[in-house]
């Protein structure tokens, strides 16, 4: 089975070399047969890589320790179901995972763009296959997960115990998929650029669509990662601005900027160069993320796939950036903007400001992440840049972004007049100020928390105002309330789906604000039978249960917990010690409600039954996790294309020609 996997890997590699050459040649020579051949070649890579993947998983399931990678990342004691996690838990396996996942996604993307963008597709295919080629080359020549050992060990070394968690079945695959999926909008954009069609805005819809797909996967990956950190890393937090977390955040930031600014090109034919730059930056950041994750220069808690090959990723990142910029410069002339900026206060300029803010946050994050290397090189002082720095610097920038998120959608395209501005912003501004006043009176005095809640208030009322206005005007024309609302959402899905996402982001913002400023924690030393309190919670330590497994020693503490007078139930925080790895994994017990989480986690189990526990009250963390499904829903609403009949495609000019006509109702009503 392993041999079959090896052979299919080699076959896939040869095929991708062929596809790369023939794909580009087909584009340049405009040869339809060449392009078709390359395309089918690319599709055939998928089954080959699936065979290789199955071979590896098969080896895991059957404890085939003759395969080096299996011996390193699994053992007899590992539950079989974790074969899937073990598959991508090390460097070589995760590369194979990325290759197979990318080949599937890219094939779907290729199928779609072949139909929609026939001239761009061959070049995009070329770019995609180069990405795949890189991964397959690294797998075959540097880190082959199917490589065999000369001597078969009796047992493997085992999987990293921190990975034994339900979240690990989905978080790492999502995160890796997210990073590599940035290559899709990149391929579409650079493909259009190579084809000399970057200036025609035909690639925009596809670029936006794949950009959003990638954004969605990245977002879900980040949320799942935070959730995993919260439930298993056992310190009561969810985000620590660790280098690996940062490296996943940076492409997300750039991608968020891209999916917004692409709308300006779609609507106004502007920002053509800027969008290209953004997509190139996003892909560079994604590659940087992979580099930092794979034996990067900065130590991190998350680097499970550590290796010495980080520098290859860095070199390829540099090369990609360089080549992309060369293509950009060569095709510079095709990217002249069609529209003209009419006013400094308009939707267009708000989009630009938003883009710059996102990039600035990405830049600050990058700066903080690499500063230790910088200070070491310049001054020979090793410094650490951690959470306090990022909170202080990125926190205010993110608040500014949320404010912009609330206000910008209310600005009209092209030009805002003072009067229309006042009308649109009246309610949000009043709302923001009243929220600030109420929370201040109620005793929330932390200035940043007040500002954050006020800004969330502005953003929420902005969205509600937009929904309300549209729904009312539809209702006035005779639609029932629920129907009016649904029709409104349906009439412009990118816009109203975007608003749903904005609401989810506000939920996230509220959760982050409340839990960062008003989390309470206390370390307590307890003997069995002791009772302690934190806030309204009373918890009684019953005792500890020790249980020995083949790979670990588990110490589970038993607590009885009351909230006020109400008995909540038992809570079981535990700590598992893995002697082979000399790693202790603690898992908090969490009593979660929308208002607050009560979180108990063991720190130390000492002698004579004495133990140290940490108790936390984390307000409103629930909102962060609840925002996830809403965010996914909103993105899907915005993503699903709407079939538009030809006769409603109106130009602004034809619309205004009829302004004042008796006919205007039919013009403006055409969209219904």
């Amino acid at each position: 089975m392993v041999e079959i996997g090896q052979i299919s890997l080699v076959a896939a590699f040869i095929l991708v070399v062929y596809v790369t050459i023939v794909g580009f040649a087909g584009g340049v020579l405009n040869g339809r047969d060449l392009v078709a051949s390359a395309r089918w070649g690319f599709y055939s890579v998928v089954p080959l890589l699936l065979i290789a993947t199955s071979a590896l998983i098969y080896a895991f399931v059957n404890n085939d320790f003759s395969v080096a990678y299996v011996a390193e990342n699994s053992n007899l004691a590992m539950p079989r179901i974790y074969a899937w996690v073990a598959f991508y838990s090390g460097n070589a396996g995760s590369l194979l995972y990325i290759a197979v996942a990318f080949s599937i996604m890219a094939s779907i993307c290729l199928k779609v763009i072949t139909k929609k963008l026939p001239y761009t597709a061959p070049y995009a295919l070329g770019v995609m296959s180069m990405v795949l080629l890189f991964f397959l080359a690294v797998i075959l020549f540097l880190a082959n997960p199917l490589e065999k050992l000369t001597v078969t060990p009796a047992d493997g070394q085992g999987i990293n115990p921190l990975l034994i968690h339900f979240g690990m079945f989905i978080h790492p695959p999502f995160q890796m998929l997210g990073l590599i999926s940035v290559a899709l909008p990149y391929s579409v954009a650079v493909g259009a650029l190579l084809a000399g069609r970057g200036g025609r805005d035909e690639w925009v819809d596809q670029g936006r669509m794949w950009g959003m797909v990638s954004w969605l996967i990245l977002t879900v990956g980040l949320l799942l990662g935070s959730w995993w950190a919260y439930t298993i890393l056992g310190w009561g937090g969810y985000w620590a601005w660790d280098p690996v977390e940062n490296s996943a955040l940076m492409p997300w930031l750039a991608m968020t900027a891209f999916v917004h600014s692409i709308m300006v090109q779609k609507r106004r034919g502007m920002f053509r160069m800027w969008n290209m730059v953004l997509v190139i930056i996003s892909f560079t950041m994604a590659q940087l993320g992979m580099f930092i994750n794979r034996g990067g220069p900065v130590p991190s808690v998350h680097s499970f796939a550590e290796s010495t090959m980080g520098w290859i990723f860095l070199a390829v990142m540099g090369l990609t950036l360089f080549v992309s910029l060369v293509i950009f410069v060569i095709r510079y002339d095709t990217l002249k903007s069609r529209g003209r900026l009419e006013s400094m206060i308009s939707r267009e300029s708000a989009f630009l400001a938003q883009n710059i803010l996102f990039l600035l946050i990405a830049f600050v994050t990058l700066w903080g992440t690499v500063f230790p290397i910088f200070s070491e090189a310049v001054d020979e002082t090793t410094m650490t840049v951690g959470q306090p720095f990022f909170n202080k610097v990125n926190g205010p920038l993110m608040l500014l972004l949320i404010l912009l998120m609330g206000v910008a959608p209310l600005l009209p395209w092209r030009r805002a007049t003072g009067k229309s501005l006042a009308r649109m912003l009246r309610i949000p501004v009043v709302s923001g100020l009243s929220v600030a006043a109420i929370v201040l009176i109620a005793g929330i005095s932390q200035p940043w928390a007040v500002a954050s809640f006020a800004i969330c208030g502005v953003a929420v009322s902005g969205v509600l105002q937009e929904w309300g206005r549209g729904t009312f005007s539809r209702h006035r024309r005779g639609e029932g309330w629920p129907r009016a609302f649904l029709n409104l959402l349906n009439a412009n899905r990118p816009r109203y789906g975007g608003y749903i996402v904005h609401l989810a982001i506000i939920m996230l913002g509220v959760g982050i604000t409340a839990s960062s400023f008003y989390s309470v924690q206390r370390d307590v030393v307890m003997q069995p039978g002791d009772t302690e309190t934190l806030g309204k919670y009373t918890f009684k330590y019953i005792g500890v249960n020790e249980e020995s497994f083949s790979d670990r020693l588990e110490e589970t503490a038993e607590f009885k917990v009351w909230s006020g007078d109400k008995y909540i139930g038992y809570m079981y925080p535990y700590r598992a010690f893995y002697p082979e790895f000399r790693i202790a994994a603690t898992r908090g017990a969490i009593n979660s409600s929308p208002m607050e989480d009560f979180y108990l986690v063991p720190s130390e189990f000492g002698e004579d039954d004495q133990a140290v526990f940490r108790a936390l009250i984390n307000p409103m963390i629930w909102w962060m996790w609840a925002s996830g499904p809403i965010l996914v829903f909103g993105t899907l609403v915005a993503l699903v294309p709407r079939r538009r009949s030809k006769n409603v495609q109106l130009r602004l000019t034809s619309l205004t020609a009829r302004v004042g006509d008796q006919n205007q109702s039919s013009v403006l009503g055409a969209e219904d």
Partner: protein, 175 residues
Amino acid sequence: MSIIKLTIARSSTLTIFVILLVLVLIFLSCKPPVEVSELDSRTNSLNKSIMCPICPGESIDQSQNELAGHMRRIVREQIEGGKTDSEVREYFVERYGPVVLLEPSTSGIGLIAWIVPPAGLLIAGCSVAIALILMKRRRSEEVVDDTLSHNDRVRYYKVLEERGISEDDLPGREV
């Protein structure tokens, strides 16, 4: 007509405020009625700013390592002994070097870490302003101009407003 419009405007404003009120009530619940002693809050914030020297990137607050637990106790003892926050930090820097602080110092090379982000904000702000000015100045013959005359625009927005339609709900430009 204007009365109807006014009522609609009012009821929609009212709805927004009611929803906001609910939201604010939720915000208010975020402050648990817990009195945190000054000792606790100082210990916690210090713990969050000191790195555990053997567990890369993790603060002693975050890490489950024994050393981190030991350092947490030292922090607490020192605060109880009357030391100021910076004295406690200094104590750890003397033993482990500046690497032990999770936030770069505001002197020496560490200062650069702090200066770059606001400088970036300044540069970013200026470049947006310059980009916008350049885009605005672009001569109209370079671009296909589908912009409206002033009068047309006023009428266009008037119609939109009368019908309560957002410009975004109209079909987009076709290329």
